[in-house]
Amino acid sequence: MLEVRDDSATAFEELMRRYQDRLVTVLEHLVGHREQAEDLAQDVFLRVYRSRKSYIPGSKFSTWLFTIANNAASNSRRSRSRRKEVNVDSGASLSTGAFGIEQMAQAASGFMPARLADKAEMRDIVREAIATLSERQRMAVLLCKFESMSYEEIAEAMEMTPQAIKSLLSRARGNLREVLEPYLDSGSRERLQSNEGN
């Protein structure tokens, strides 16, 4: 990053290659759309380059990167809601996955056919579960899960206190547990395995 600060384009490209997959992964699960995530990631890298002179040597680059990503995602969400680009037809669901919240509620109440819960469908269910979280909860969960960040690092990236992050993550994980509970002890794995066996 220090070379990028000194205007090295090669160093910037190298840095981008090192972090682009991680950034797009977090952003895709945050916004629920691949294309939008890539656009956001480009915006984030552009912001990184523009503010390269303000990078403090010795600070952790990934924390700085995800601080910028969090701000970019928040700005994007605000401008999207200003432009009223919400797709009314898609209802409350944020994801393009195969299931909606109603199906998940069905699943939670035990009416979901067992055959649905194969591996790909399980992925969609997890996506939907993530989509039920607020954007802040989602960001905290993704940074914790995918970036293995400490509460302090997440707090720095999201401009909150570590204590607030602890509560935020606790509520998020509680919500996830609630939504995903039917797929836990009640034999989701077993059901998945038996479906894969058939």
Binding site: A9, F12, E13, M16, R17, Q20, D21, V24, T25, E28, H29, R34, A37, E38, A41, Q42, F45, L46, Y49, R50, K119, M122, R123, V126, R127, A129, I130, V141, C144, K145, F146, S150, Y151, K166, S167, L169, S170, R171, R173, G174, L176, R177, V179, L180, E181, Y183, L184, D185
Partner: protein, 168 residues
């Protein structure tokens, strides 16, 4: 039979989640372990929290292709080039503004110097103006040939009169 837990579920959840994430200090972690050893419901809750967290591993990790890298580099390069062009375009007008400012400063300094010199420096024509009545009638005074007569005129203030009334 598990002992009642003194903490609210929310607080317990906060600590259980932080415990799973390895984010508790040693003392709090020991407390949580103590609760867990005594409370089966808490153990079940912990297990569910942990398993639901593990399910997030189902989410795919994205690998972008080379097009993304190239496009992003192009976006950054274009943006930086545009900024440079804007900066360069702004240079002549800023240079012009600087020259105008310099010229205005020089003119202002000149005017100020002139006014100050008027106020401070003595006027070389002032003695001539004072002596003008004498100069105008110098020939007639010279013809008088009497110092006493001239002193008398001076006492009467005739040398300071501007109407130039010379002695007859």
């Amino acid at each position: 039979m598990s002992e009642p837990i003194n903490h609210s579920t929310e607080l317990l959840d906060d600590d259980l989640v932080a415990y799973l994430d390895g984010q508790l200090d040693e003392a709090t972690a020991r407390n949580v372990e103590e609760w867990l050893s005594r409370d089966e419901a808490a153990r079940l809750r912990l297990r569910h929290l942990s398993k639901s967290w593990d399910l997030l591993d189902q989410l795919p990790r994205i690998a972008v292709d080379e097009t993304f890298t190239r496009t992003t580099m192009a976006v950054v390069t274009t943006s930086v080039a545009n900024e440079l062009m804007q900066q360069q375009a702004a240079v002549p007008s800023s240079r012009r503004r600087r020259w105008i400012a310099v010229a205005a400063s020089v003119v202002l300094a000149g005017l100020l110097g002139f006014v100050v010199s008027l106020l401070i420096l003595p006027n070389p024509n002032e003695p001539l103006l004072v002596d003008l009545p004498v100069i105008q009638n110098l020939d007639q005074y010279r013809d008088s040939d009497s110092v006493e007569f001239l002193q008398l005129l001076k006492q009467k203030g005739r040398f300071t009169e501007e109407d130039g009334n010379a002695p007859e």
